[in-house]
């Protein structure tokens, strides 16, 4: 096994071992999820649970459907016209794909941070405040904005230029602003699609630190192509990979899902072992 991962895992073993799974509160219960774009399946038969107040990482090679997977969790894939899905995703027991469920309400409690920072072309203050205003959380607006920025470890850096354009911030700051924006509306879950892949190592480190602090309040599901990152921040890790069919079709599948330490030190599946030891992917 790669020594850097060993080191990472060792560093993180100062984290508490997780209680047995039956005692963990489930946030998501995904059953037999199959995601299809047009006529091609991107994911097949994914079944896993996501637990409260943990950081769950989704890793795997390019094209294995990681982004597709988390975008299913907040129904962002609805925005793609050719998308269909089968299987169920239960959020605290409720099927989020049910007909009477409004995706707008889903996205309110299950927020998202994207791969490239995408702050609105507004001021720093307005970036956070806009969502609050639209969603009707206007009371104590300034306090809410300050709290969100503080939680995202950005407050000290921007407190005296809140009215400046958000586009003037560095990439790392912009991403933290996007995190602040997402948590300001008090979601239950925050999905992150490779949040640090466009950032430099220092900015990345700041964000990983945020995850440690914030998971007490929120549940995180983070897609990452960086195994070391997963080893550093995640409590549970799900490994996806690409399966091939007889006629050359490819789709993503969940190979193994377990506590991070186990995935990286003693994986059950050979494909997992090949990936985490760098033999492929």
């Amino acid at each position: 096994m790669s020594s850097t991962i060993e080191a990472a895992v060792r560093v993180e073993t100062k984290r508490q071992p997780l209680p047995p799974r039956e005692r963990l509160e489930q946030v998501f219960d995904v059953q037999d999820l199959t995601a299809i774009y047009g006529s091609k399946a991107a994911l097949k038969d994914v079944s896993m649970e996501v637990y409260k107040n943990l950081v769950t990482a989704v890793i795997g090679p390019s094209g294995c459907g990681k982004s597709t997977f988390i975008r299913c969790l907040n129904r962002m894939n609805d925005l793609v016209p050719s998308f269909r899905q089968t299987g169920t995703i239960r959020y605290h027991g409720q099927d989020i794909g049910a007909r009477d469920v409004d995706p707008v309400a889903v996205r309110r409690t299950i927020g998202m941070v994207f791969q490239r920072p995408n702050p609105f072309p507004k001021s720093i203050y307005d970036n956070v405040a806009w969502g609050l205003k639209v969603l009707g959380m206007k009371d104590d607006l300034s306090e809410r904005v300050e709290r969100a920025l503080t939680q995202a470890a950005l407050w000290d850096e921007v407190r005296d230029r809140l009215k400046a354009s958000a586009l003037g911030l560095s990439g790392g700051q912009q991403q933290r602003l996007c995190i602040a924006r997402a948590i300001a509306v008090e979601p239950d879950v925050v999905l992150m699609d490779e949040p640090a892949s466009a950032l430099d190592p220092i900015a990345t480190q700041k964000i990983e630190q945020l995850l440690h602090e914030l998971k007490q309040e929120y549940t995180f599901v983070i897609v990452t192509h960086n195994m070391q990152q997963a080893a550093r921040v995640a409590d549970m890790t799900a490994f996806f990979s690409i399966s091939r069919g007889e006629e050359g079709e490819r789709w993503g599948e969940l190979i193994e899902y377990d506590e991070t330490e186990k995935i990286f030190t003693a994986p059950s599946d050979k494909r997992t072992e090949d990936y985490v030891t760098g033999r492929f992917g």
């Binding site: 962002m76 969502g131 354009s165 003037g168």
Partner: protein, 324 residues
């Protein structure tokens, strides 16, 4: 990209020599003269229009702008009534056209099913291609009577307390018909520019807003509109410029009345309309010169409007991408 270093080549080339250089000079000369000609043309337009208007300018001076008589008998002419008509019809058209055009643009970029977008876009652009004289023909013979019989009385009975919507009268040709016609004509410009602007809003920005749990309209209002604010303003201004310059369709449907009437259902006239309607020979040199004076006013306005639109586009592009 264009200034390639030809001199170094010349040293190497064994056979181009004098003839090549002459040819180069001729082409560059001719092309340069043509480009210069374009500049000269604009200047010439300004000069010749001013020259034609000189008689009227020296006779009436600036009071021409607000004087509302156009009297061939006493040789007194003023643009007031027509400038009022131009203002009323153009602003009226703008007020009607802008929300509809924005609605069309939103429809085409956010709401329409994929297979509908292409055809509807083509249809909107076809509307722009219809010549103004044809719209005017339709306006006189179809739209005017229809409005007179079915719309104007209703508007008067509902909104009659506003002096704008006074008694409808028996004419199909009036200011209101002209406003509707102009609306139809400037709709495609504003709609197609807005559509391109909305298309250029990055998808990630829109996803960022939707990811917070906002409805599509909230996302449009909070992200798409602010992002394209400058461009839409420019589009509206360009539409306005088109409206003030339109002479033919307006001349056909507005009723050729010289005077100011608040009532939209009363005939009126615009600067462009007055110029167009008197083409078949003015009564005197002074009247002709006054018509050209009208054209001069239109020229000035259209250039100002054009430059304003360009300035807004440039300024909004700069603002978007730098820290303020």
């Amino acid at each position: 990209m264009t200034s390639l270093d030809v001199s170094a080549d010349a040293a190497r080339r064994p056979f181009s020599g004098r003839r090549g250089r002459l040819g180069d000079l001729l082409l560059q000369g001719a092309a340069g003269i043509a480009a210069l000609g374009a500049l000269v043309l604009v200047g010439l337009i300004a000069w010749k229009v001013i020259q034609g208007a000189r008689l009227s300018i020296s006779t009436f001076g600036l009071s021409f702008v607000w004087n509302t008589t156009w009297d061939q008998v006493h040789n007194v002419f003023g643009a007031g009534a027509f400038l009022y008509g131009t203002a009323v019809t153009s602003f009226g058209a703008l007020i009607l056209a802008t929300p509809i055009a924005l609605g069309i643009a939103i429809f085409l970029t956010e709401l329409a099913p994929r297979w509908v977008r292409g055809p509807v876009t083509a249809l909107v652009e076809t509307l722009a291609a219809i010549p103004s004289v044809v719209i005017g023909l339709w306006g006189i013979l179809v739209l005017g009577p229809a409005l007179r019989d079915h719309v104007n009385p209703v508007l008067h009975s509902v909104l009659g307390f506003i002096p704008l919507f006074g008694p409808p009268g028996t004419y199909g040709s009036n200011v209101f018909t002209a406003i509707v016609v102009l609306t139809i004509m400037i709709l495609p410009i504003i709609a197609s520019i807005s559509r391109e602007l909305f298309l250029s809003v990055p998808a990630e920005l829109k996803e960022g807003a939707l990811g917070l749990g906002t409805t599509r309209w909230e996302m449009i209002r909070g992200v798409v509109f602010p992002y394209s604010r400058g461009g839409v303003a420019a589009a509206v201004i360009l539409g306005f410029g088109r409206a003030i310059g339109e002479a033919i369709a307006v001349a056909q449907v507005i009723g050729a009345f010289t005077g100011i009437s608040i009532n939209l259902f009363h005939p009126g006239n615009t600067a462009g309309g007055q110029i167009a309607l008197n083409a078949q020979g003015a009564s005197s040199g002074l009247e002709t010169s006054s018509l050209i004076y009208l054209a001069l006013i239109l020229l000035v306005f259209s250039i100002v409007v054009n430059l304003l639109a360009q300035f807004i586009v440039r300024r909004s592009a700069r603002r978007l991408w730098t820290a303020t």
